[in-house]
Symmetry: C2
Subunit: 163 residues, 2 copies
Amino acid sequence: MDVYETIISKRDTRAYLDRPIPEDSLRRILNAGRMAGSSKNSQPCRFIVMRDREAIARLAKAGDFTAPMLSAPLVVAVMLEEGWRPFDAGRAAQNMMLAAWAEGITSCPVGIQHVDEGRRAVGAPDNFEVHMVICFGYPQPGVPLGRGQMRRPLDEIVHMERW
Amino acid sequence: MDVYETIISKRDTRAYLDRPIPEDSLRRILNAGRMAGSSKNSQPCRFIVMRDREAIARLAKAGDFTAPMLSAPLVVAVMLEEGWRPFDAGRAAQNMMLAAWAEGITSCPVGIQHVDEGRRAVGAPDNFEVHMVICFGYPQPGVPLGRGQMRRPLDEIVHMERW
């Protein structure tokens, strides 16, 4: 798949095979996140790599819709430093998810609604929050990627010169 | 370039050739943004394609460090709907910037600090803001991509299992 095909075929997927992510794939995923640009080169993200089922279950309790975490062979908590842009966390996460998808590894972001509880679950300092958790895993054969949700057509979301 | 190489070689670049972006590249860039996943499939972004110098200059006045907009042959204002995640705007923007970079088109996000002024400049409704502006253009030969800023090493930003 070329870059464009990889980008437009990526679907957030919540069901994974029980098959570990190879170490070299993990390294590329993390490095893709690391290389994302950020406002004023603030590099406001840290990544917590989680494969321990108990550690993952503990963090999952801090969110409301975290079931995908429990079956994901790899979970990466995207930590965002206070005062910096969530937009940049999105850039880093998308880099990671695309690097994974290029290798056939699918993913899904999961929110952690209870911020203090999430921070405590991973032992992070006060100036970082678990901004988003990304679940990674190989897709289950026969299970559709995504949930069949469509995107709005391009001419509905694009304006020319002004709104 | 494969997907991983495209991701890790992308540098936010502020100097552009005075050369227009082809229509088919523009369409792929916008479609890459459109196909980005979002929380609850909210699809909270709209894109305003700007090439008119006066329109761009008007919007640039609503931000503090917007000089790159004035020389970019293409500017896309990423509009975010109120109540949804800036993280998802980052995902969509990164998709667009990577689709562009795969075709040799570089880019740079620019913030619009004065929110009301930005909204007025593009004529957007109250429930959308100019969350970020992405400048696109072909890089100037001989001018380094990025500003020579380094990224922190991987082992400084990655934690295993917990912080």
